[in-house]
């Protein structure tokens, strides 16, 4: 466990991979600060579209959507997702959206 600190008095608990522990502390400023740790300097409209979709899906279903669903419903192809979030939808976009760490099989 660790603490993530950033400008503007941001100070939240995160796990080893930098995912926030308490989804309720999420806000847009925190998202922007987390994005910087994943190689995203400026969050533009497309970034927010992905992040908001992930948040809404998570709030509705309690899990992260499958990648294919994410691309289909946002209309953003996977290649573009990686351009927006270079570390990918699971590590990058989900972290910025404040979702708990997605579990996956290695």
């Amino acid at each position: 466990m660790g603490v993530f600190e950033a400008e503007g008095g941001i100070k939240v608990e995160v796990d080893e991979d930098g995912f926030i522990q308490d989804p309720d502390v999420w806000n847009e400023d925190l998202a922007k600060a987390l994005a910087k740790t994943e190689g995203v300097e400026d969050m533009d409209e497309e970034h927010w579209k992905l992040v908001n979709y992930l948040r809404n899906y998570y709030q509705q279903f309690g899990i992260a959507p499958m990648v294919r669903k994410l691309c289909k419903e946002t209309g953003i192809p996977l290649k573009r997702v990686y351009e927006l979030f270079p570390s990918g939808p699971a590590k990058g976009a989900c972290k910025v959206a404040g979702l708990p760490k997605p579990t996956g099989c290695v």
Binding site: L78, P86, P89, K91, C105
Partner: protein, 398 residues
């Protein structure tokens, strides 16, 4: 000098004439704190009977969603050197052929950035580099790229395709496994590096039914070399085996699963009913000088094997009985079917459902109909014994 730990249980594993991973880790531990702590944690796990590695880290390199498996220890305060111990999978060359220079460059990079410990090769087929920290991932990736290596697959993606040595060294290879494996790897770069499937997808290429990559027991798609004409028999060599004391009747004829052979002791001739042959390779393996695969070579495509992780183990089923592998058009048609299957699986498959489980759930008949492959008798394990399932109501009435 790294801290010295007492490891009596591990020391026990060095005894005997066999190679020992303990010996190797100790060797690495002389100059590497990570390997040294690794020994201590392993000894402790044997004592406590508890594993200390946490599951499910998400780490990676920029632009890729797979290739790195995050590992953290649950007692980082006690073993700070291995608080991170991530695994990197590196795409192996087809058939695992290296120059010693290439091997040295991998080892040098890994000693610089990680524990120095490798697993050549993991059961996936990849070069497995064991143990590094999050900060070292990107520099390692860059250094590897400079010497021509790329990350392999991990997570819900196309896993690094792997193949047997094939025509490079083996006389039984019925197609160029290394060539097709390389072609498939290049073709699936997107799917390999950017996971978007319900679960993992493994391609494995074996040159003959001996299946030295164990494809049909674990790969989602197995491409297994075979032939469709007759086994080639050299009568003089059969006679020589007999004259040298081989019990051809008991060791070859009676071990044939199809019972398709006869041996005549008088004429020393072996007769094969090729129509009944199941291409199991047993007779060829037993008498390699006398018998050879036929000339009309290609591959059988099988689908749906998996090892037991979430559900139980599955063996493959035949999807395409015979494909001429050197024919580019036939290969293209095969790739088209693969894409069709992946589309349907991605649309309808559940999270973490392998293609074999998916087929079990929806039924083979429905699956084949959906992907547009005609069911034929050659797909069935024992077509002569088993009426199987492919009879539609109207066909029966006819």
């Amino acid at each position: 000098m790294p801290k010295e730990y007492k490891t009596p249980k591990l020391d026990d594993l060095e005894k005997g004439p066999w190679p020992s991973f303990v010996k190797e880790i100790k060797q690495a531990a002389k100059n590497n704190e990570m390997s040294n702590d690794l020994l201590a944690v392993l000894e402790r796990s044997y004592d406590e009977r508890i594993g200390h590695w946490k599951h499910g880290g998400i780490v990676g390199v920029m632009g890729y969603g797979g290739g790195v498996i995050g590992r953290y220890i649950d007692i980082p305060d006690e073993y700070p050197n291995i608080s991170h111990f991530h695994t990197m999978r590196i795409n192996q060359p087809a058939g695992w052929f290296y120059t010693s220079e290439a091997l040295r460059s991998i080892c040098d990079i890994w000693e610089k950035h990680g524990s120095g410990l490798t697993n050549m090769h993991g059961s996936t087929g990849d070069i497995v580099l064991l143990g590094t920290t999050t900060d070292e991932l990107e520099p390692t990736f860059q250094d590897l790229a400079h010497v021509g290596f790329d990350l392999g697959g991990s997570g819900s993606d196309v896993r690094t395709p792997s193949c047997c040595v094939g025509e490079a060294r083996c006389e039984w290879a019925c197609y160029d496994t290394m060539g097709v494996c390389y072609e498939t790897t290049m073709r699936y770069q997107d799917e390999l590096h950017r996971p978007a499937f319900p679960y993992k997808w493994k391609f494995k290429f074996a040159g003959c039914p001996n299946d030295c990559v164990a494809a049909k027991a674990r790969a989602d798609i197995s491409v297994v070399g075979t032939w469709r004409d007759a086994i080639k028999v050299d009568d003089a060599e059969v006679a020589t085996y007999y004259d040298n004391g081989m019990d051809i009747f008991n060791d070859v004829v009676l071990n044939c699963p199809a019972r398709c052979m006869k041996f005549d002791h008088e004429s020393k001739k072996l007769e094969i009913n090729n129509a009944d042959c199941r291409r199991c390779m047993h007779c060829i393996n037993a008498m390699p000088k006398a018998l050879r695969p036929g000339d009309d070579k290609g591959a059988t495509i099988l689908i749906g094997a998996k090892a037991p992780i979430i559900e139980g183990a599955l063996l493959s089923s035949v999807l395409i009985p015979f494909l001429k592998m050197e024919d580019e058009e036939e290969r293209e048609a095969w790739y088209d079917i693969m894409e069709e299957i992946q589309d349907i699986w991605c649309e309808e498959g559940k999270n973490r459902e392998r293609i074999g489980e998916f087929i079990q759930r929806v039924g083979m008949a429905n699956f084949l109909e959906a992907v547009g492959v005609e069911p034929i008798p050659e797909m069935v394990a024992y077509p002569r014994d088993n009426p199987y399932i492919f009879f539609e109501q109207d066909e029966e009435e006819e």
